[in-house]
Symmetry: C2
Subunit: 461 residues, 2 copies
């Protein structure tokens, strides 16, 4: 019998715990020891649920936690919270960890899984670290913000940055009765959408009472003598703030890996192959800290999203357990909801497509979610972006109400398979009056985009 090996996992959320669980399924405790170190108070939770926890939509913190440390212990996984990995020594096959009391020790490994997640971007400005200023990444952040909101003191909140998290947090704080402003350096919120679609989101945000200041870079933060934030300053105004939340996106938390000599790619994410192996022997990585391949552009991307983290963690765990699994890449699908307005995107937007070297054509169609005569039918806009000449679908965006956003799945699968918009016009999609008009919005959009591709070709011939 082979000697018992040791798997050390850094990071106890989606990717780390998925990897640990999968490895355990395939290799019992006699064969594989599994140690997970997690710097926060919580592990195995839904980070995407944080805005709903802050807003009170999800009352109980426990509901966000998939498995407790005790449950992992029962599986033979030693999960240590409040324990931070501070150095990786790949030559020595060991990691220096710091416990809550500050004590440090080296933990050895046969295989190392890096699942350190991401860190919220923060402007390098005085006051950006003041009390009352929060990033949103780990569940501890959510707990801190909810505590601040529930203590009843804050009246005015400023969200800096209008990405998904920023918008979801803005809505959550509106639900809590705060006066909420949102500042973004860009001319539109949700930069992952094209400006025409982003403008609809901006209207929705204003519609729930959020004051939107677009095209305004943050210039600084005012603080009180006791070090608490009191205002956010832009070049045009000073916004009083009892609470500030960053929604500027996140960056891969790859510093530890980089310092250890583990390859980090151009996106700042750790480099892995399709089996989630880094180029460093017996070092694996998965989740928000890695970069992956965008299957439309072919370029590496770092996209922090629970669904990728879970899949990648699972893939790493299967491989660590002696099986074979791969993570092929992403097509950039994302969905979100601001009150009743649903937003979805997949593939490349116009800017991204241009950056990737594609010449594109775009079409936006207005349609309804159900047959026009069916009560409850609401408006939705579908935008398709196709490559000139080939007509290959490159990206799609949807903004609408009830039931609009999840329709992006079909578009993501069409993208995944490299379909052209002309081919898509024949697709056999579900039709009944409560679900779609007889010409599904996706079919109308495909038809119009295919027509645009054809016209474009004629005008150039």
């Amino acid at each position: 019998m082979a000697a018992r090996e040791r798997l050390l996992v850094i990071g106890g959320d989606a990717a780390g715990m998925s990897a640990a669980s999968q490895a355990r399924r395939r290799r019992g405790p006699d064969e594989l020891e599994i140690l997970v170190v997690e710097r926060g108070h919580y592990a195995s939770y839904s980070a995407c649920g944080i805005p709903y926890f802050v807003g009170g939509v999800v009352e109980d913190l426990g509901k966000l936690i998939a498995r407790t440390p005790a449950e992992f212990r029962d599986l033979g996984i030693d999960l240590r919270l409040r324990t931070e990995a501070v150095e990786i020594d790949v030559d020595g096959g060991r990691v220096r960890v710091r416990a809550e009391d500050g004590g440090e020790r080296w933990e050895v490994y046969d295989d190392l899984m890096i699942a350190t997640g991401a860190v919220p971007s923060r402007p390098r400005l005085p006051g950006a670290d003041a009390a009352g200023v929060h990033g949103v990444q780990i569940l501890d952040d959510g707990v801190a913000i909810r505590r601040a909101v529930e203590d009843g003191k804050p009246r005015r909140a400023v969200v800096v940055g209008g990405g998904y998290i920023g918008l979801e947090m803005a809505e959550a704080m509106v639900m809590r009765g705060l006066e909420v402003s949102l500042v973004d350096i860009a001319d539109q919120p949700m930069q992952t959408l094209d400006p025409d679609m982003g403008a609809i989101v901006a209207d929705a945000i204003r519609g729930i009472g959020v004051r939107l200041y677009l095209g305004e870079p943050v210039a600084g933060f005012d603080t009180s003598p006791d070090g608490h934030v009191t205002a956010v300053r832009t070049e045009s105004r000073t916004l009083p703030a009892d609470l500030v939340v960053f929604g500027l996106g996140v960056k891969p938390a790859s510093g530890l890996a980089r310092e250890a000599g583990v390859a980090v790619g151009p996106t700042g994410g750790i480099v892995t192959d399709r089996r989630m192996r880094t180029p460093t022997e017996r070092v694996w990585a998965a989740g928000d800290c890695v970069e992956t391949r965008h299957l439309v552009s072919g370029a590496p991307v770092a996209i922090a999203l629970g669904t990728h983290a879970n899949k990648q963690g699972r893939v790493a765990g299967v491989n660590l357990g002696g099986g074979y699994a791969t993570f092929p890449g992403v097509v950039g699908t994302a969905v979100s909801k601001i009150c009743t307005v649903e937003v979805a995107r997949t593939g490349l937007n116009e800017r991204e497509a241009a950056a990737a070297g594609f010449a594109t054509l775009s079409v936006v169609v207005e349609s309804t979610t159900r047959a026009g005569y069916h009560p409850g039918a609401t408006a939705m806009k579908t935008k398709l972006i196709a490559e000139r000449r080939s007509g290959r679908l490159l990206g799609a965006q949807i903004v609408g109400e009830e039931n609009a956003a999840k329709r992006v799945d079909g578009l993501a699968i069409a993208l995944w398979n490299g379909m052209t918009v002309e081919e898509m016009t024949g697709l056999d999609l579900g039709y009944a009056p409560p679900f779609a008009p007889v010409w599904d919005p996706v079919l109308i959009a495909a038809r119009k985009t295919a027509d645009a591709v054809e016209q474009d070709m004629r005008s150039r011939s």
Copy 2:
């Protein structure tokens, strides 16, 4: 200049009017005369909307009508209602039509478009044509049933046949306050689903108060001396009925074509190529009266559905107008809703797959429509059917609540592209807590089916 040609269209609903409109777009009235004859009182309406009109969900009949005869006239399309085609003479290039007053005349054509739709199946039993017994196909049927319901006399309705239309009509009549029974010769309603999924639909139907009598063939109909239906008899019981509705499915209305020597295939549908041309010169056909290719089984199928009829009609019209368009076939996607229960299917069910010569493996997974902790998350069941060994997806079925059914679109697109369940496990689907659990039901189902395929292979090696 070429002489003006004449397009004659038989049937003024989805396929016929789409063809006429498309042909007109490409060829003006100076070039092409277009005559459409329609036997009913209405044209260009949503037949799929009939149950909602009967149930009162859609109040106004006009809402079901996309374009009036006057609007078609303005487009230069001569649409004649209450005018029935009674004979096609392909050698003479003419069609004998009968006007409302019984007068007949021959109308010549250069191109003929047959869009005669479908006829509801009726049991060949005495009383099946009695007053108060209705099929559901053209809008006239819907108007007659709603009139019968609204005159307040019927108290007890019996639906014979538990297909989509039967179930939707049962719900509509429950909404109208009638006591509704549903009789089906099969052991489950909705034969397009496998028995395990159909059983859930049966429960939903019972849940809204419909009495379900399954596995009971109808033996006959009792009628009053004045010829009105009074009861439906099965082998086991007599169900008093003031109103009877058939939901036994429909058959292609291909009799006129067959009599004229236009080829009719094994399904009873008119045979066409991908451009919607029949083998008879200058005779085209589209909609519920034709058969098309099932892209999974490769076999011809006749599926009466507005979405196919519209697409096929458009394709025929583009080609009639001098353009090039094709209808590639279908994958058998359908969605429906019984109160809050949504039902969807695509591809082949187990019975159909076996008939097509596939050895299959199936997996049913229970999941939720949103993240489990998100309020409003409801249960949904997803069934995938894959080919043994290859793991190619062959079919899928979904039963669930809010937002469950339209997820079938993604599965239909996966099928369309011939994906295997293993490939599907990597799909990048939209994830956020209000829209899906972090492991989307489709991904879980794909994973479990892929595992089943692998296990099956091992157990046979």
